[in-house]
Protein backbone atom coordinates (compact mmCIF):
# COMPACT_ATOMS: atom_id res chain seq x y z
CA UNK A 1 0.00 0.00 0.00
CA UNK A 2 1.27 3.48 -0.83
CA UNK A 3 1.82 6.17 1.80
CA UNK A 4 -1.21 7.99 0.38
CA UNK A 5 -3.27 4.81 0.82
CA UNK A 6 -2.29 4.59 4.48
CA UNK A 7 -3.12 8.28 4.94
CA UNK A 8 -6.61 7.77 3.50
CA UNK A 9 -7.17 4.65 5.61
CA UNK A 10 -5.94 6.18 8.86
CA UNK A 11 -7.76 9.52 8.39
CA UNK A 12 -11.05 7.68 7.59
CA UNK A 13 -10.72 5.38 10.58
CA UNK A 14 -9.82 8.23 12.95
CA UNK A 15 -12.78 10.35 11.75
CA UNK A 16 -15.25 7.50 12.20
CA UNK A 17 -13.91 6.25 15.52
CA UNK A 18 -13.73 9.85 16.76
CA UNK A 19 -17.38 10.41 15.81
CA UNK A 20 -18.44 7.18 17.55
CA UNK A 21 -16.46 8.04 20.68
CA UNK A 22 -17.95 11.54 20.79
CA UNK A 23 -21.48 10.18 20.38
CA UNK A 24 -21.31 7.31 22.85
CA UNK A 25 -19.62 9.44 25.52
CA UNK A 26 -22.49 11.92 25.30
CA UNK A 27 -25.13 9.18 25.14
CA UNK A 28 -23.92 7.75 28.43
CA UNK A 29 -23.56 11.22 30.02
CA UNK A 30 -27.29 11.85 29.35
CA UNK A 31 -26.89 15.63 29.48
CA UNK A 32 -29.66 17.70 27.88
CA UNK A 33 -28.72 20.93 26.13
CA UNK A 34 -31.81 22.81 27.26
Amino acid sequence: MTTFGWVFLIVSWVLILGLALFCFMRVFKKKKID
Binding site: M1, T2, F4, G5, W6, V7, F8, L9, S12, W13, L15, I16, L17, L19, A20, F22, C23, F24, R26, V27, K30, K31, K32, I33, D34
Partner: protein, 520 residues
Protein backbone atom coordinates in the same frame (compact mmCIF):
# COMPACT_ATOMS: atom_id res chain seq x y z
CA UNK B 1 -63.60 0.58 19.55
CA UNK B 2 -61.07 1.84 22.09
CA UNK B 3 -57.72 2.83 20.66
CA UNK B 4 -54.72 0.73 21.64
CA UNK B 5 -51.88 2.05 23.76
CA UNK B 6 -48.98 2.83 21.44
CA UNK B 7 -45.85 0.77 21.76
CA UNK B 8 -42.67 2.64 22.76
CA UNK B 9 -38.94 1.98 22.91
CA UNK B 10 -37.72 0.58 26.23
CA UNK B 11 -34.43 2.46 26.23
CA UNK B 12 -32.39 4.95 24.27
CA UNK B 13 -29.72 2.38 23.51
CA UNK B 14 -32.53 0.15 22.22
CA UNK B 15 -33.62 2.56 19.48
CA UNK B 16 -30.00 3.40 18.58
CA UNK B 17 -29.31 -0.33 18.16
CA UNK B 18 -32.53 -0.79 16.15
CA UNK B 19 -31.80 2.13 13.80
CA UNK B 20 -28.16 1.06 13.45
CA UNK B 21 -29.46 -2.48 12.85
CA UNK B 22 -31.72 -1.20 10.11
CA UNK B 23 -28.78 0.62 8.53
CA UNK B 24 -26.17 -2.13 8.93
CA UNK B 25 -27.08 -4.69 6.31
CA UNK B 26 -25.56 -6.83 3.61
CA UNK B 27 -24.50 -3.64 1.79
CA UNK B 28 -21.98 -2.68 4.50
CA UNK B 29 -19.98 -5.87 4.04
CA UNK B 30 -20.64 -6.63 0.36
CA UNK B 31 -21.53 -3.46 -1.53
CA UNK B 32 -19.28 -0.83 0.07
CA UNK B 33 -15.88 -2.51 -0.47
CA UNK B 34 -16.75 -3.23 -4.11
CA UNK B 35 -17.93 0.34 -4.72
CA UNK B 36 -14.80 1.79 -3.12
CA UNK B 37 -12.44 -0.51 -5.03
CA UNK B 38 -14.16 0.26 -8.36
CA UNK B 39 -14.44 4.02 -7.88
CA UNK B 40 -11.04 5.39 -7.03
CA UNK B 41 -10.05 3.42 -3.90
CA UNK B 42 -9.09 5.81 -1.10
CA UNK B 43 -10.18 8.75 -3.27
CA UNK B 44 -13.75 7.35 -3.14
CA UNK B 45 -13.77 8.34 0.53
CA UNK B 46 -13.73 12.05 -0.41
CA UNK B 47 -17.14 12.04 -2.20
CA UNK B 48 -18.31 9.44 0.32
CA UNK B 49 -17.66 11.72 3.31
CA UNK B 50 -19.03 14.75 1.41
CA UNK B 51 -22.26 12.82 0.70
CA UNK B 52 -22.38 11.64 4.32
CA UNK B 53 -22.15 15.24 5.59
CA UNK B 54 -24.45 16.82 2.99
CA UNK B 55 -27.06 14.11 2.44
CA UNK B 56 -26.76 11.19 4.88
CA UNK B 57 -26.52 12.92 8.24
CA UNK B 58 -29.05 15.70 7.39
CA UNK B 59 -31.57 13.12 6.14
CA UNK B 60 -31.03 11.07 9.28
CA UNK B 61 -31.88 14.09 11.45
CA UNK B 62 -34.87 14.94 9.22
CA UNK B 63 -36.32 11.40 9.46
CA UNK B 64 -35.79 11.15 13.22
CA UNK B 65 -37.40 14.57 13.75
CA UNK B 66 -40.45 14.15 11.51
CA UNK B 67 -40.97 10.60 12.80
CA UNK B 68 -41.10 11.73 16.41
CA UNK B 69 -43.31 14.68 15.41
CA UNK B 70 -45.78 12.40 13.57
CA UNK B 71 -45.75 9.94 16.47
CA UNK B 72 -47.14 12.77 18.63
CA UNK B 73 -50.27 12.60 16.41
CA UNK B 74 -50.34 8.78 16.70
CA UNK B 75 -49.02 8.31 13.15
CA UNK B 76 -46.11 5.95 12.61
CA UNK B 77 -45.96 5.93 8.84
CA UNK B 78 -45.29 8.46 6.12
CA UNK B 79 -48.92 9.15 5.00
CA UNK B 80 -49.90 10.26 8.50
CA UNK B 81 -46.58 11.95 9.25
CA UNK B 82 -46.67 13.93 5.99
CA UNK B 83 -50.27 14.90 6.71
CA UNK B 84 -49.24 16.11 10.19
CA UNK B 85 -46.51 18.26 8.62
CA UNK B 86 -48.80 19.79 5.98
CA UNK B 87 -52.35 19.60 7.28
CA UNK B 88 -53.77 22.00 4.70
CA UNK B 89 -52.80 19.79 1.76
CA UNK B 90 -55.25 16.98 0.96
CA UNK B 91 -52.88 15.12 -1.33
CA UNK B 92 -49.63 15.01 0.60
CA UNK B 93 -50.68 11.83 2.45
CA UNK B 94 -50.69 9.98 -0.87
CA UNK B 95 -47.02 10.85 -1.42
CA UNK B 96 -46.43 9.14 1.92
CA UNK B 97 -47.53 5.84 0.36
CA UNK B 98 -43.98 5.63 -1.06
CA UNK B 99 -42.76 5.27 2.54
CA UNK B 100 -44.75 2.04 2.94
CA UNK B 101 -44.49 0.73 -0.60
CA UNK B 102 -40.69 1.09 -0.93
CA UNK B 103 -39.74 -0.87 2.21
CA UNK B 104 -42.37 -3.52 1.39
CA UNK B 105 -40.90 -4.06 -2.08
CA UNK B 106 -37.36 -4.33 -0.70
CA UNK B 107 -38.57 -6.73 2.01
CA UNK B 108 -39.96 -9.06 -0.69
CA UNK B 109 -36.55 -9.90 -2.18
CA UNK B 110 -34.36 -9.04 0.81
CA UNK B 111 -35.82 -11.80 2.98
CA UNK B 112 -34.99 -14.37 0.33
CA UNK B 113 -31.38 -13.19 0.04
CA UNK B 114 -31.19 -13.13 3.84
CA UNK B 115 -32.26 -16.77 3.88
CA UNK B 116 -29.23 -17.68 1.72
CA UNK B 117 -26.99 -16.38 4.52
CA UNK B 118 -28.78 -18.62 7.02
CA UNK B 119 -28.42 -21.58 4.69
CA UNK B 120 -24.72 -20.91 4.10
CA UNK B 121 -24.16 -20.56 7.88
CA UNK B 122 -25.62 -24.04 8.19
CA UNK B 123 -23.57 -25.33 5.23
CA UNK B 124 -20.42 -23.88 6.86
CA UNK B 125 -21.01 -25.79 10.08
CA UNK B 126 -21.91 -29.00 8.25
CA UNK B 127 -18.95 -28.56 5.82
CA UNK B 128 -21.25 -28.94 2.79
CA UNK B 129 -19.10 -26.72 0.58
CA UNK B 130 -15.77 -27.38 2.31
CA UNK B 131 -14.23 -29.40 -0.54
CA UNK B 132 -14.98 -26.77 -3.20
CA UNK B 133 -11.82 -24.74 -3.79
CA UNK B 134 -12.51 -23.28 -7.24
CA UNK B 135 -14.74 -20.30 -7.97
CA UNK B 136 -16.44 -21.94 -10.94
CA UNK B 137 -17.49 -24.92 -8.79
CA UNK B 138 -18.67 -22.63 -6.00
CA UNK B 139 -20.67 -20.68 -8.60
CA UNK B 140 -22.34 -23.97 -9.62
CA UNK B 141 -23.03 -24.69 -5.93
CA UNK B 142 -24.78 -21.28 -5.60
CA UNK B 143 -26.77 -21.72 -8.82
CA UNK B 144 -27.83 -25.20 -7.76
CA UNK B 145 -28.92 -23.87 -4.38
CA UNK B 146 -30.90 -21.04 -6.00
CA UNK B 147 -32.68 -23.58 -8.21
CA UNK B 148 -31.22 -22.06 -11.38
CA UNK B 149 -29.73 -25.41 -12.40
CA UNK B 150 -29.68 -29.04 -11.27
CA UNK B 151 -26.18 -30.31 -10.47
CA UNK B 152 -24.21 -32.61 -8.16
CA UNK B 153 -24.76 -30.23 -5.24
CA UNK B 154 -28.51 -29.63 -5.42
CA UNK B 155 -31.27 -31.36 -7.35
CA UNK B 156 -34.04 -28.84 -6.59
CA UNK B 157 -34.84 -25.50 -5.02
CA UNK B 158 -36.32 -27.26 -1.94
CA UNK B 159 -33.39 -26.59 0.47
CA UNK B 160 -33.44 -22.88 -0.45
CA UNK B 161 -37.18 -22.79 0.09
CA UNK B 162 -36.91 -24.46 3.52
CA UNK B 163 -34.32 -21.88 4.63
CA UNK B 164 -36.52 -19.12 3.25
CA UNK B 165 -39.46 -20.41 5.33
CA UNK B 166 -37.32 -20.50 8.48
CA UNK B 167 -35.99 -16.97 7.83
CA UNK B 168 -39.46 -15.66 7.08
CA UNK B 169 -40.81 -17.17 10.31
CA UNK B 170 -37.95 -15.68 12.37
CA UNK B 171 -38.84 -12.26 10.96
CA UNK B 172 -42.53 -12.72 11.73
CA UNK B 173 -41.83 -13.89 15.29
CA UNK B 174 -39.63 -10.85 16.00
CA UNK B 175 -42.26 -8.55 14.47
CA UNK B 176 -45.08 -10.24 16.36
CA UNK B 177 -43.56 -9.24 19.71
CA UNK B 178 -43.73 -5.57 18.77
CA UNK B 179 -41.30 -2.68 19.05
CA UNK B 180 -40.02 -3.13 22.58
CA UNK B 181 -40.49 -6.86 23.07
CA UNK B 182 -39.51 -7.94 19.56
CA UNK B 183 -37.42 -5.54 17.47
CA UNK B 184 -35.61 -3.82 20.35
CA UNK B 185 -34.88 -7.03 22.21
CA UNK B 186 -33.61 -8.75 19.05
CA UNK B 187 -31.41 -5.81 18.00
CA UNK B 188 -29.86 -5.50 21.47
CA UNK B 189 -28.66 -9.08 21.07
CA UNK B 190 -27.95 -9.07 17.34
CA UNK B 191 -25.94 -5.86 16.99
CA UNK B 192 -23.21 -6.59 19.57
CA UNK B 193 -23.02 -10.20 18.27
CA UNK B 194 -22.67 -8.96 14.70
CA UNK B 195 -19.88 -6.55 15.69
CA UNK B 196 -18.05 -9.33 17.57
CA UNK B 197 -18.30 -11.68 14.56
CA UNK B 198 -17.11 -8.94 12.17
CA UNK B 199 -14.21 -7.96 14.44
CA UNK B 200 -13.01 -11.57 14.73
CA UNK B 201 -13.14 -11.92 10.92
CA UNK B 202 -11.40 -8.58 10.31
CA UNK B 203 -8.60 -9.47 12.74
CA UNK B 204 -8.21 -12.88 11.09
CA UNK B 205 -8.01 -11.35 7.61
CA UNK B 206 -5.65 -8.55 8.66
CA UNK B 207 -3.25 -11.07 10.22
CA UNK B 208 -3.16 -13.35 7.16
CA UNK B 209 0.15 -11.84 5.96
CA UNK B 210 1.08 -13.56 2.67
CA UNK B 211 -0.49 -17.05 2.84
CA UNK B 212 1.23 -18.21 -0.37
CA UNK B 213 4.98 -18.04 0.34
CA UNK B 214 5.80 -18.32 -3.36
CA UNK B 215 3.90 -15.07 -3.97
CA UNK B 216 5.06 -12.59 -1.30
CA UNK B 217 3.40 -9.68 -3.13
CA UNK B 218 0.00 -11.21 -2.50
CA UNK B 219 0.04 -9.86 1.04
CA UNK B 220 -2.46 -8.10 3.25
CA UNK B 221 -0.77 -4.70 2.96
CA UNK B 222 -1.17 -4.77 -0.82
CA UNK B 223 -4.71 -6.13 -0.34
CA UNK B 224 -5.58 -3.06 1.70
CA UNK B 225 -3.79 -0.98 -0.90
CA UNK B 226 -6.10 -2.36 -3.61
CA UNK B 227 -8.99 -0.78 -1.75
CA UNK B 228 -7.34 2.30 -0.23
CA UNK B 229 -4.65 3.54 -2.68
CA UNK B 230 -6.28 6.71 -4.02
CA UNK B 231 -6.79 7.35 -7.72
CA UNK B 232 -7.46 11.08 -7.49
CA UNK B 233 -8.18 11.38 -11.24
CA UNK B 234 -11.47 9.54 -10.59
CA UNK B 235 -12.75 12.54 -8.62
CA UNK B 236 -13.40 14.32 -11.93
CA UNK B 237 -15.95 11.66 -12.84
CA UNK B 238 -19.60 12.40 -12.02
CA UNK B 239 -20.15 8.63 -11.88
CA UNK B 240 -17.90 8.35 -8.82
CA UNK B 241 -19.79 11.10 -6.99
CA UNK B 242 -23.12 9.47 -7.85
CA UNK B 243 -21.82 6.08 -6.70
CA UNK B 244 -20.71 7.58 -3.38
CA UNK B 245 -24.07 9.30 -2.84
CA UNK B 246 -25.90 6.10 -3.75
CA UNK B 247 -23.81 4.15 -1.26
CA UNK B 248 -24.64 6.65 1.52
CA UNK B 249 -28.35 6.22 0.77
CA UNK B 250 -28.15 2.43 0.79
CA UNK B 251 -26.02 2.21 3.86
CA UNK B 252 -27.89 4.55 6.19
CA UNK B 253 -31.43 3.32 5.39
CA UNK B 254 -32.45 6.95 4.99
CA UNK B 255 -35.05 8.10 2.50
CA UNK B 256 -37.18 5.00 2.66
CA UNK B 257 -39.44 5.64 5.65
CA UNK B 258 -38.20 3.03 8.11
CA UNK B 259 -36.31 5.41 10.41
CA UNK B 260 -39.30 7.71 10.35
CA UNK B 261 -41.43 4.81 11.59
CA UNK B 262 -38.94 3.80 14.28
CA UNK B 263 -38.64 7.41 15.52
CA UNK B 264 -42.43 7.71 15.79
CA UNK B 265 -42.30 5.43 18.84
CA UNK B 266 -40.13 7.96 20.72
CA UNK B 267 -41.64 10.15 23.42
CA UNK B 268 -41.93 13.88 22.80
CA UNK B 269 -38.98 14.78 25.06
CA UNK B 270 -36.63 12.07 23.76
CA UNK B 271 -33.47 13.17 22.00
CA UNK B 272 -33.20 12.74 18.24
CA UNK B 273 -30.05 14.68 17.30
CA UNK B 274 -27.44 12.72 19.24
CA UNK B 275 -29.23 9.38 18.86
CA UNK B 276 -29.39 9.83 15.07
CA UNK B 277 -25.70 10.68 14.86
CA UNK B 278 -24.78 7.74 17.11
CA UNK B 279 -26.64 5.34 14.82
CA UNK B 280 -24.71 6.84 11.86
CA UNK B 281 -21.39 6.32 13.66
CA UNK B 282 -22.21 2.65 14.37
CA UNK B 283 -23.08 2.10 10.73
CA UNK B 284 -19.84 3.73 9.56
CA UNK B 285 -17.73 1.53 11.85
CA UNK B 286 -19.43 -1.53 10.40
CA UNK B 287 -18.92 -0.28 6.84
CA UNK B 288 -15.64 1.60 6.53
CA UNK B 289 -13.63 -0.11 9.26
CA UNK B 290 -14.99 -3.66 9.39
CA UNK B 291 -16.61 -4.05 5.96
CA UNK B 292 -13.53 -2.75 4.15
CA UNK B 293 -11.18 -5.01 6.11
CA UNK B 294 -12.67 -8.38 5.23
CA UNK B 295 -13.74 -9.21 1.72
CA UNK B 296 -11.37 -7.27 -0.61
CA UNK B 297 -8.10 -7.80 1.33
CA UNK B 298 -8.95 -11.50 1.79
CA UNK B 299 -9.72 -11.96 -1.92
CA UNK B 300 -6.47 -10.18 -2.83
CA UNK B 301 -4.16 -12.42 -0.77
CA UNK B 302 -5.74 -15.63 -2.10
CA UNK B 303 -6.40 -14.73 -5.75
CA UNK B 304 -3.82 -12.01 -6.45
CA UNK B 305 -4.00 -8.61 -8.18
CA UNK B 306 -4.70 -10.01 -11.67
CA UNK B 307 -7.98 -11.60 -10.58
CA UNK B 308 -9.20 -8.66 -8.52
CA UNK B 309 -10.74 -6.73 -11.41
CA UNK B 310 -12.84 -9.74 -12.37
CA UNK B 311 -13.75 -10.48 -8.74
CA UNK B 312 -14.73 -6.87 -7.97
CA UNK B 313 -16.82 -6.73 -11.17
CA UNK B 314 -18.53 -10.05 -10.42
CA UNK B 315 -20.96 -8.23 -8.15
CA UNK B 316 -21.60 -8.18 -4.43
CA UNK B 317 -23.47 -11.49 -4.31
CA UNK B 318 -20.77 -13.46 -6.09
CA UNK B 319 -18.22 -11.92 -3.76
CA UNK B 320 -20.21 -12.90 -0.69
CA UNK B 321 -21.50 -16.31 -1.73
CA UNK B 322 -18.84 -17.53 -4.17
CA UNK B 323 -15.50 -15.86 -3.45
CA UNK B 324 -15.72 -15.83 0.36
CA UNK B 325 -16.61 -19.55 0.78
CA UNK B 326 -13.67 -20.45 -1.50
CA UNK B 327 -11.37 -18.24 0.62
CA UNK B 328 -12.60 -19.84 3.85
CA UNK B 329 -12.04 -23.24 2.29
CA UNK B 330 -8.34 -22.38 1.93
CA UNK B 331 -8.01 -21.30 5.58
CA UNK B 332 -7.72 -23.47 8.71
CA UNK B 333 -10.98 -23.69 10.69
CA UNK B 334 -12.90 -22.91 7.49
CA UNK B 335 -16.23 -24.00 8.99
CA UNK B 336 -15.91 -21.61 11.94
CA UNK B 337 -14.94 -18.60 9.82
CA UNK B 338 -17.61 -19.43 7.25
CA UNK B 339 -20.18 -19.58 10.03
CA UNK B 340 -19.02 -16.23 11.45
CA UNK B 341 -19.19 -14.60 8.00
CA UNK B 342 -22.64 -15.85 7.03
CA UNK B 343 -23.86 -15.54 10.62
CA UNK B 344 -22.97 -11.87 10.69
CA UNK B 345 -24.65 -11.34 7.32
CA UNK B 346 -27.75 -13.12 8.60
CA UNK B 347 -27.95 -10.96 11.74
CA UNK B 348 -27.34 -7.82 9.65
CA UNK B 349 -30.09 -9.02 7.30
CA UNK B 350 -32.72 -9.72 9.96
CA UNK B 351 -32.17 -6.39 11.77
CA UNK B 352 -32.74 -4.70 8.40
CA UNK B 353 -35.68 -6.78 7.19
CA UNK B 354 -37.72 -6.31 10.37
CA UNK B 355 -37.27 -2.56 9.93
CA UNK B 356 -38.50 -2.85 6.34
CA UNK B 357 -41.61 -4.68 7.49
CA UNK B 358 -42.46 -2.30 10.31
CA UNK B 359 -43.95 0.60 8.24
CA UNK B 360 -46.62 -1.61 6.61
CA UNK B 361 -47.49 -3.26 9.94
CA UNK B 362 -47.59 0.10 11.75
CA UNK B 363 -49.85 1.46 8.99
CA UNK B 364 -52.42 -1.29 9.66
CA UNK B 365 -52.15 -0.80 13.42
CA UNK B 366 -52.39 3.00 13.43
CA UNK B 367 -54.74 3.80 10.59
CA UNK B 368 -57.08 0.80 10.84
CA UNK B 369 -56.77 0.13 14.57
CA UNK B 370 -55.93 -3.53 13.90
CA UNK B 371 -54.11 -5.44 16.67
CA UNK B 372 -50.38 -6.10 16.34
CA UNK B 373 -50.84 -9.85 15.91
CA UNK B 374 -53.49 -9.49 13.20
CA UNK B 375 -51.45 -6.82 11.42
CA UNK B 376 -48.39 -9.09 11.39
CA UNK B 377 -50.52 -12.00 10.15
CA UNK B 378 -52.06 -9.96 7.33
CA UNK B 379 -48.68 -8.50 6.37
CA UNK B 380 -47.10 -11.96 6.55
CA UNK B 381 -49.63 -13.54 4.20
CA UNK B 382 -49.37 -10.76 1.59
CA UNK B 383 -45.56 -10.61 1.73
CA UNK B 384 -45.24 -14.39 1.64
CA UNK B 385 -47.24 -14.55 -1.59
CA UNK B 386 -45.14 -11.77 -3.15
CA UNK B 387 -41.84 -13.37 -2.00
CA UNK B 388 -42.62 -16.45 -4.08
CA UNK B 389 -42.34 -14.35 -7.23
CA UNK B 390 -38.81 -13.31 -6.23
CA UNK B 391 -37.88 -16.92 -5.38
CA UNK B 392 -39.17 -18.71 -8.45
CA UNK B 393 -38.38 -16.00 -11.02
CA UNK B 394 -34.94 -15.04 -9.68
CA UNK B 395 -33.28 -15.99 -12.97
CA UNK B 396 -35.71 -13.82 -14.95
CA UNK B 397 -34.38 -10.54 -13.53
CA UNK B 398 -37.35 -9.99 -11.19
CA UNK B 399 -35.15 -9.28 -8.14
CA UNK B 400 -33.11 -6.69 -10.06
CA UNK B 401 -36.30 -4.91 -11.11
CA UNK B 402 -37.70 -4.95 -7.56
CA UNK B 403 -34.37 -3.59 -6.33
CA UNK B 404 -34.48 -0.75 -8.83
CA UNK B 405 -38.02 0.39 -7.99
CA UNK B 406 -37.95 -0.25 -4.24
CA UNK B 407 -34.31 0.23 -3.41
CA UNK B 408 -33.27 3.02 -5.77
CA UNK B 409 -36.11 5.00 -7.33
CA UNK B 410 -38.41 5.17 -4.28
CA UNK B 411 -35.45 5.95 -2.05
CA UNK B 412 -34.35 9.11 -3.86
CA UNK B 413 -37.93 10.25 -4.53
CA UNK B 414 -39.06 9.80 -0.92
CA UNK B 415 -35.93 11.50 0.46
CA UNK B 416 -36.50 14.50 -1.82
CA UNK B 417 -40.13 14.83 -0.72
CA UNK B 418 -39.40 14.55 2.99
CA UNK B 419 -36.52 17.01 3.03
CA UNK B 420 -38.55 19.61 1.07
CA UNK B 421 -41.52 19.08 3.38
CA UNK B 422 -39.34 19.50 6.45
CA UNK B 423 -37.22 22.46 5.33
CA UNK B 424 -39.72 24.39 3.21
CA UNK B 425 -43.33 23.44 3.99
CA UNK B 426 -43.00 22.84 7.73
CA UNK B 427 -40.47 25.70 7.72
CA UNK B 428 -36.81 25.46 8.62
CA UNK B 429 -37.14 27.54 11.82
CA UNK B 430 -39.97 25.39 13.15
CA UNK B 431 -38.13 22.28 11.94
CA UNK B 432 -34.96 23.37 13.72
CA UNK B 433 -36.90 23.90 16.95
CA UNK B 434 -38.60 20.51 16.57
CA UNK B 435 -35.27 18.70 16.03
CA UNK B 436 -33.79 20.33 19.15
CA UNK B 437 -36.73 19.54 21.40
CA UNK B 438 -35.26 17.40 24.21
CA UNK B 439 -31.94 17.25 22.35
CA UNK B 440 -28.69 16.13 23.94
CA UNK B 441 -26.63 17.78 21.23
CA UNK B 442 -26.97 21.00 19.27
CA UNK B 443 -26.75 20.54 15.50
CA UNK B 444 -24.14 22.91 13.98
CA UNK B 445 -25.92 26.03 12.67
CA UNK B 446 -24.66 25.50 9.13
CA UNK B 447 -27.00 22.49 8.86
CA UNK B 448 -29.96 24.88 8.83
CA UNK B 449 -28.77 25.95 5.37
CA UNK B 450 -27.65 22.48 4.35
CA UNK B 451 -31.08 20.98 5.15
CA UNK B 452 -32.94 23.84 3.49
CA UNK B 453 -30.83 24.30 0.36
CA UNK B 454 -27.96 21.88 -0.17
CA UNK B 455 -29.63 18.51 0.54
CA UNK B 456 -32.75 19.18 -1.60
CA UNK B 457 -30.64 20.56 -4.49
CA UNK B 458 -28.30 17.55 -4.24
CA UNK B 459 -31.29 15.19 -4.36
CA UNK B 460 -33.07 17.06 -7.16
CA UNK B 461 -29.89 16.94 -9.26
CA UNK B 462 -29.64 13.16 -8.75
CA UNK B 463 -33.33 12.71 -9.55
CA UNK B 464 -33.05 15.00 -12.59
CA UNK B 465 -29.92 13.23 -13.87
CA UNK B 466 -31.68 9.91 -13.50
CA UNK B 467 -34.75 11.10 -15.42
CA UNK B 468 -32.54 12.57 -18.13
CA UNK B 469 -30.27 9.54 -18.57
CA UNK B 470 -32.21 6.44 -17.62
CA UNK B 471 -35.95 7.02 -17.59
CA UNK B 472 -36.72 5.88 -21.12
CA UNK B 473 -34.32 2.88 -21.31
CA UNK B 474 -35.73 1.55 -18.02
CA UNK B 475 -39.36 2.02 -18.99
CA UNK B 476 -38.70 0.47 -22.42
CA UNK B 477 -36.75 -2.37 -20.73
CA UNK B 478 -33.81 -1.82 -23.12
CA UNK B 479 -31.43 -3.81 -20.90
CA UNK B 480 -33.83 -6.74 -20.41
CA UNK B 481 -33.48 -9.79 -22.65
CA UNK B 482 -36.50 -10.45 -24.85
CA UNK B 483 -37.27 -13.72 -23.03
CA UNK B 484 -37.44 -11.95 -19.66
CA UNK B 485 -39.54 -8.96 -20.75
CA UNK B 486 -42.85 -10.61 -19.95
CA UNK B 487 -41.70 -11.42 -16.38
CA UNK B 488 -40.53 -7.85 -15.82
CA UNK B 489 -43.78 -6.52 -17.23
CA UNK B 490 -45.83 -8.71 -14.87
CA UNK B 491 -43.61 -7.61 -11.96
CA UNK B 492 -44.28 -3.98 -12.78
CA UNK B 493 -48.02 -4.54 -13.08
CA UNK B 494 -48.02 -6.24 -9.64
CA UNK B 495 -46.02 -3.34 -8.18
CA UNK B 496 -48.42 -0.83 -9.69
CA UNK B 497 -51.42 -2.70 -8.26
CA UNK B 498 -49.71 -2.85 -4.87
CA UNK B 499 -49.07 0.90 -4.95
CA UNK B 500 -52.66 1.62 -5.99
CA UNK B 501 -53.95 -0.74 -3.29
CA UNK B 502 -51.98 1.12 -0.63
CA UNK B 503 -53.22 4.46 -2.00
CA UNK B 504 -56.84 3.28 -1.75
CA UNK B 505 -56.17 2.08 1.82
CA UNK B 506 -54.90 5.56 2.72
CA UNK B 507 -58.07 7.08 1.25
CA UNK B 508 -60.28 4.66 3.24
CA UNK B 509 -58.33 5.28 6.45
CA UNK B 510 -58.72 9.06 6.16
CA UNK B 511 -62.42 8.74 5.28
CA UNK B 512 -62.95 6.62 8.41
CA UNK B 513 -61.01 9.15 10.42
CA UNK B 514 -63.20 11.98 9.05
CA UNK B 515 -66.46 10.12 9.79
CA UNK B 516 -65.23 9.33 13.30
CA UNK B 517 -64.24 12.98 13.82
CA UNK B 518 -67.68 14.19 12.68
CA UNK B 519 -69.44 11.73 15.01
CA UNK B 520 -67.39 12.75 18.03
Amino acid sequence: MARKIRDTWGSRLGIIMAVAGSAVGLGNFLRFPVQAAKNGGGAFMIPYFVALLLVGIPLMWVEWSIGRYGGGFEHSTAPGVFHSLWKKNRFIKYFGVIGIFGPLVIMVYYTYIESWTLAYSFFSLTQKYSGILEQSSMQAFLRGFQGLEKNQYFSSIAPAYVFFLITFMINMVVLNYGIRGGIERFCRFAMPTLFIFATILAVRVLTLGAPDLSRPDWNISNGLGYLWNPDLSQLKSAKVWLAATGQIFFTLSVGIGVILTYASYLKKGDDVTLSGLTAVSMNEIAEVILGASIIIPAAFVFFGPMSMGRIANSGAFDLGFVTMPVIFGRMPFSGVFGFLWFGLLFLAGVTSSVSLAQPAIAFLEDEFNISRKRSVLFFGVVTFILCNGAIFFLGKGVVNDLDFWGGTFCLVLFATIEVILFGWVFGINKAWEEAHHGADMRIPGIYKYIIKYVTPIFLLVILGAWFFQEWLPIIRMDNVSSGNKVYILVTRVVLLLLFLGLTVMVKIAWRKRKVKGERS
